[in-house]
C-alpha cells in the first residue's frame, strides 16, 4: 500500500543515490517549500469552497454551483479575479510595511506547518519542542495584523488591529494552557511522541473529564485566535467595515484571506493531533476485527478527516452565532476561560502524577 | 378633554390667543414672544399634559411664515395645534428643544428649508443640505433652474 511515508523515503533514497549530501539537502528543501506552497494553494481553494458550501447548507441555498462540478472551481476563478485586480495602496499608508504585512502573515502561517504530522512518520521537521514551537511562532502572526492595521493609515484598520492584538494575546493564554494539559499527560512536547502516546486511545477518550474541558477550551480559543466568528471583532464588518484589512485589495487581500484559512487548518490540525490522536486510527479496546479494519484506512486520511471535522465545527460556529462585543470577549477570556483552564491544568497534573490516565 | 373644554382652559391660560375654527383639532394662534412660556405651561399642567410634540413644521404664506406645532398628550389623548406667525424677512423664534428633545432635529430641518432662526438652539446647523447652499427651498419664491423640482 502506498503511503506518504514510503513516497518520502523513496524520493530521499533516489536523491542520495544520484547527488551528494549538500545538493540532496538543497533539493529536499526546495521540494518541501514547493510542497508547502502547493498545499497552501490547495487548502486555500478547498477550504474556501468548503466554507461556502457549509454556509449554503445552513442558509438554505445552493452555494457555488456553476464553475465546474458542484462549483469546485469557483474559488480558482475568484483567485484569478483577485490576481488580475489592481493592488491599491492608499496615499496615507506606510508603503513598505503595508506591502510587507500580508507576506509576514503568510510566512508565519508557513512556518507553523513545519512540525505538523500529516501522516505516520511524515513530518517536515520533528522538532523536540514541537508544541512549544507552534505556540511561539503563532504568536508572531499578531504582528502582521498590527502592521497591516497601522500602516493602512485608516482608523477602522487601526481599531481592528488593536482589537485583534488584545484578542490574540489574551486567547493565546488559555490555548497554551489547554495544550499544556495534554503535554502534562504525555510528558513530551514532541508532536510525534504525543501522537504515539495515543496508540491505546485518543486523549479525548482516555484523558478523563479534564481532557474534554481542555478540548472545549482549545476549540474556543482557537476560534478566537484565528479571528473567526463569533470572535471576528478584528474584521467585524458591521462595525469596522473590514477591520485591519479594510484598505487591502487584489492579491494582498487574497494573502490575508488565504492566511486565515491556513491558520484555521493549522489550529485544527494541532487540535486533532493533541486530542483526537493525530493520524492514529480509531481503536476500540480489544475488538481485533474492528481495529484491523480501521488500520486499513491510510493514516493521512485519518489525520485529514479529523482536521476537516474540526474545521467544519469552526465553520458551523461562524454561520450560527452572532458576534461578541469587545469587552464581553475579554471578559470571557479573563474571567471564565483562563481560571477554568488553570484549575483544569492543576487537576490534570494531579491525575498525571497519580497515574490514573494509564 | 374635548375641543370645547380645551378652548376654555387654554383661553384661561393665554387670553391673547386667537382660535381658528374648522379642522379636526383645536387651532390657536399665539404671539412668538409667548411661545416658550405658553408651551411650558401646557406641558406641565396636569389637566392638559401635552407631553408629546409629534409634528413641527412651517408654512410659507407669501406674506408671512407660520410655525405649526402639533401637540398631543400621551395621558389624556387630546391634541391641539399651536401656530405662530413670523415675519418673513427676519423670522426668529425661541427654540422648544429644551422642552421636547425632538424639536432639536425638526427645528434644524425647518431652519434650513425655511430659514427660520431658532434662538438658543443648541446646535443650529444645516442637517440635510450642503453648507454652501443658498436660499430656502421650501419657501414659495424659491427657484432653482438647475434642479427643477416643479413639474
Amino acid at each position: 500500500m502506498i503511503s506518504l511515508e514510503k513516497i518520502a523515503t523513496l524520493i530521499d533514497g533516489w536523491l542520495h543515490q544520484h547527488f551528494n549530501d549538500v545538493i540532496t539537502l538543497l533539493i529536499e528543501c526546495v521540494l518541501v517549500g514547493v510542497g508547502a506552497i502547493a498545499l497552501f494553494a490547495l487548502l486555500g481553494l478547498g477550504l474556501v469552497w468548503m466554507e461556502r458550501k457549509v454556509a449554503a447548507l445552513m442558509q438554505i441555498r445552493m452555494g457555488p454551483n456553476r464553475v465546474g462540478p458542484k462549483g469546485i472551481f469557483q474559488t480558482s476563478a475568484d483567485t484569478l479575479k483577485l490576481i488580475m485586480k489592481e493592488g491599491l495602496t492608499p496615499d496615507g499608508a506606510d508603503k513598505l510595511l503595508f506591502n510587507l504585512a500580508p507576506v509576514l502573515v503568510i510566512i508565519v502561517a508557513m512556518l507553523i506547518l513545519a512540525p505538523i504530522a500529516f501522516a505516520k512518520n511524515f513530518q517536515i521537521w520533528d522538532i523536540n519542542i514541537g508544541v512549544l514551537y507552534v505556540s511561539a511562532v503563532s504568536s508572531m502572526s499578531v504582528i502582521g495584523i498590527l502592521m497591516a492595521g497601522w500602516s493602512s493609515g485608516n482608523k477602522y484598520a487601526l481599531l481592528g488591529a488593536m482589537r485583534s492584538g488584545a484578542q490574540i494575546v489574551s486567547y493565546e493564554l488559555s490555548a497554551g494552557i489547554s495544550v499544556l494539559t495534554i503535554v502534562v499527560l504525555t510528558g513530551s512536547l514532541q508532536i510525534s511522541e504525543i501522537v504515539q502516546s495515543q496508540q491505546t486511545g485518543w486523549w479525548i477518550f482516555k484523558g478523563h473529564i479534564p481532557a474534554i474541558i481542555a478540548f472545549v477550551i482549545f476549540i474556543i480559543a482557537a476560534t478566537a485566535e484565528t479571528n473567526r466568528a463569533p470572535f471576528d471583532l478584528a474584521e467585524a464588518e458591521s462595525e469596522l467595515t473590514a477591520g485591519f484589512h479594510t484598505e487591502y485589495s487584489g492579491m494582498k487581500f487574497a494573502l490575508f484571506f488565504l492566511a486565515e484559512y491556513i491558520n484555521i487548518f493549522i489550529v485544527c490540525a494541532i487540535g486533532a493531533t493533541l486530542f483526537l490522536g493525530g493520524w492514529m486510527p480509531l481503536h476500540i479496546g480489544n475488538v481485533q476485527a474492528f481495529n484491523h479494519a480501521m488500520d486499513y484506512i491510510p493514516s493521512s486520511i485519518w489525520f485529514l478527516g479529523k482536521t476537516l471535522f474540526l474545521i467544519f465545527v469552526i465553520m458551523w460556529f461562524r454561520w450560527t452565532f452572532p458576534r461578541l462585543r469587545v469587552d464581553q470577549l475579554l471578559n470571557l477570556e479573563w474571567k471564565y476561560l483562563l481560571p477554568i483552564s488553570l484549575v483544569n491544568l492543576l487537576v490534570m497534573t494531579v491525575i498525571a502524577i497519580l497515574g490514573w490516565h494509564l | 378633554m374635548t375641543n370645547e373644554e380645551l378652548k376654555i382652559k387654554l383661553t384661561e391660560l393665554n387670553p391673547a390667543a386667537t382660535f381658528e375654527e374648522g379642522g379636526e383639532w383645536l387651532n390657536l394662534f399665539i404671539d412668538a414672544a409667548d411661545l416658550l412660556s405658553f408651551t411650558k405651561t401646557i406641558k406641565e399642567n396636569s389637566e392638559l399634559y401635552f407631553d408629546y410634540l409629534f409634528c413641527l413644521t412651517c408654512v410659507d404664506w407669501k406674506t408671512h411664515l407660520t410655525m405649526v406645532y402639533h401637540f398631543s398628550s400621551t395621558k389624556h389623548r387630546h391634541n391641539i395645534v399651536v401656530k405662530v406667525k413670523l415675519d418673513r424677512t427676519n423670522p426668529e423664534i425661541e427654540t422648544l428643544s429644551f422642552l421636547w428633545r425632538t424639536a432639536e432635529f425638526h427645528e434644524r430641518e425647518v431652519y434650513e428649508l425655511f430659514g427660520v432662526k431658532f434662538l438658543n438652539h443648541p446646535d443650529l446647523r444645516r442637517l440635510i443640505l450642503t453648507d454652501d447652499f443658498e436660499g430656502w427651498p421650501l419657501r414659495k419664491d424659491f427657484e432653482d433652474p438647475i434642479n427643477m423640482i416643479k413639474l
Partner: protein, 382 residues
C-alpha cells in the same frame, strides 16, 4: 472627509475640545454596512467608547415635500412609496386617508378590508427584513437568508395583486386600484401557517442565543420619558413601555373592530425593542387571519371625480407604519394641488434619540442600538 459645517451657536452636543489625539473621530457612513443606506454618522471616540454621535443627513434628499406641491392629489401618492420603501403600502394608505378625509368620501368595506390586510402583510415583511438585518448587524449571517425566504413569499403575493414588489402604489383615494388576484386568499392563508412555524424557528436560532441576549440586554437604554420627549414612536417607544400604537389610540379604517394587542415591553433596551417587533409579527398575522376569510363582496373603489380638489383647510392623518407613527399634514388652498405638505416620518424622530441612547457605550453597542431603531434612510431624508 466630511463637509465643513456652518456653526451659528456653539453646539452643546459637541464635547469640549481637547488636545488632538485624545479623541478619535470616525465616519460611519455614508457607505457603511451597518447603516443600511447612505446615513452618515460622525462618531467621536475615546478608545472604543462613544463620546458623541452626530448624524449628517441628506445624501438621498429628494425634497418630496416640495415635489408634492406641484403634484395633484392623485399623483402625489406615488411619490410617497419611495419614502419608507419597506412600508410603502402604509405610506400610500396614509395619503389616501388624508385625501379622503378632505373629500369626505366613504370608502367601501371591501376596500377597507383589503387595505388593512395589505398594511399588515407589509408590516410583517418589513419586520422580517429588519430581523434578518438586525442579526446580520450582530454578525450572524444565516438569519438574513432565512428572513429573506419568508419575505419573498409576501413579495410574490404583492406582485400578483399590485403588480409590484416594493413600491406598490396600490391604494388610491377612494379605495384600492384594482381588485384582489384570485389566488390571493389561498396564498395568504398558506403564508400565515408557514409563518407561525418560522417564527418558532427564528426564536430558536437567534432569540434564545446567549451571545445575542448579552449583546442586546441593557444596550441603548431609552427611558419612557425620553422616548416621548424625543418623539419616538412605533416599536422603539413601545420597547420603553410607551403606549403609542395609532391603530389602537386613533383607529382608522376597521382597526377598532379587530382583535389584537398592543405589544408593550418595559425593558427600555435593545432586547425589548427586538421582542416588540417579533411579537408584532404574530399580532399582524392574527389580524390577517381574522380578515382573510371575511372580505366582503362589493366595490373596491368609491366613485370619485377625475380631478380631485380638496376644500380650503388643513388635514392631518396619522397611521402606524412598521417604524412608527407617520403623519401627513396637508394645507390646502382649495386647488388641485396641496399648498403645503409635510410628512412627519417616524425614522427622523427615532434617529434623533440615537445619540442619547448610545453615548458612553462601545462601538458594538452602537450597531446593536441602531439596528433596533430600524432606520430606513429615504424615510429620514425624504
Amino acid at each position: 472627509m466630511f463637509r465643513q459645517t456652518e456653526i451659528i451657536n456653539q453646539p452643546s452636543t459637541i464635547p469640549p475640545s481637547k488636545e488632538e489625539g485624545e479623541y478619535l473621530t470616525i465616519n460611519v457612513g455614508p457607505q457603511h454596512p451597518a447603516t443600511h443606506g447612505v446615513l452618515h454618522l460622525v462618531i467621536t471616540l475615546s478608545g472604543e467608547t462613544i463620546i458623541n454621535i452626530e448624524p449628517h443627513l441628506g445624501y438621498i434628499h429628494r425634497s418630496i415635500e416640495k415635489m408634492c406641491e406641484s403634484l395633484s392629489y392623485r399623483q402625489f401618492i406615488y411619490v410617497t412609496s419611495r419614502m419608507d420603501y419597506l412600508s410603502s403600502h402604509i405610506n400610500n394608505h396614509a395619503c389616501a386617508l388624508v385625501v379622503e378625509k378632505g373629500l369626505q368620501v366613504e370608502v367601501p368595506q371591501r376596500a377597507q378590508y383589503i387595505r388593512v390586510i395589505m398594511d399588515e402583510l407589509t408590516r410583517i415583511a418589513s419586520h422580517s427584513l429588519w430581523w434578518g438585518a438586525m442579526a446580520m448587524d450582530l454578525g450572524a449571517f444565516t438569519p438574513f437568508f432565512h428572513a429573506f425566504r419568508e419575505r419573498e413569499a409576501i413579495n410574490e403575493i404583492m406582485e400578483e395583486t399590485c403588480g409590484a414588489r416594493l413600491t406598490m402604489n396600490y391604494m388610491v383615494p377612494g379605495g384600492v386600484m384594482v381588485d384582489l388576484h384570485p389566488n390571493f386568499q389561498q396564498k395568504t392563508k398558506a403564508l400565515i401557517q408557514a409563518y407561525y412555524n418560522r417564527l418558532d424557528e427564528w426564536d430558536e436560532l437567534v432569540t434564545g442565543n446567549i451571545i445575542f441576549q448579552n449583546r442586546m440586554k441593557g444596550v441603548g437604554m431609552l427611558s419612557a420619558e425620553n422616548a416621548i420627549s424625543y418623539g419616538c414612536t412605533g416599536p422603539v417607544a413601545r420597547g420603553s413601555g410607551v403606549s403609542c400604537d395609532v391603530r389602537k389610540i386613533y383607529p382608522y379604517e376597521i382597526y377598532n373592530q379587530l382583535q389584537f394587542d398592543e405589544i408593550l415591553e418595559t425593558g427600555c433596551d435593545s432586547l425589548a425593542r427586538y421582542n416588540v417587533r417579533l411579537k408584532e409579527i404574530r399580532q399582524s398575522l392574527k389580524i390577517v387571519e381574522q380578515l382573510i376569510d371575511n372580505i366582503p363582496e362589493g366595490e373596491f373603489q368609491a366613485k370619485t371625480k377625475a380631478v380631485l380638489k380638496l376644500p380650503k383647510g388643513e388635514f392631518y392623518q396619522r397611521v402606524e407604519t412598521a417604524r412608527g407613527e407617520l403623519g401627513v399634514y396637508i394645507v390646502s388652498e382649495g386647488g388641485t394641488t396641496p399648498y403645503r405638505i409635510k410628512f412627519r416620518s417616524p425614522g427622523f424622530s427615532n434617529l434623533s434619540a440615537l445619540n442619547h441612547m448610545v453615548k458612553g457605550s462601545k462601538i458594538g453597542d452602537l450597531i446593536a442600538a441602531m439596528g433596533t431603531l430600524d432606520l430606513v434612510i429615504p424615510d429620514i431624508d425624504r
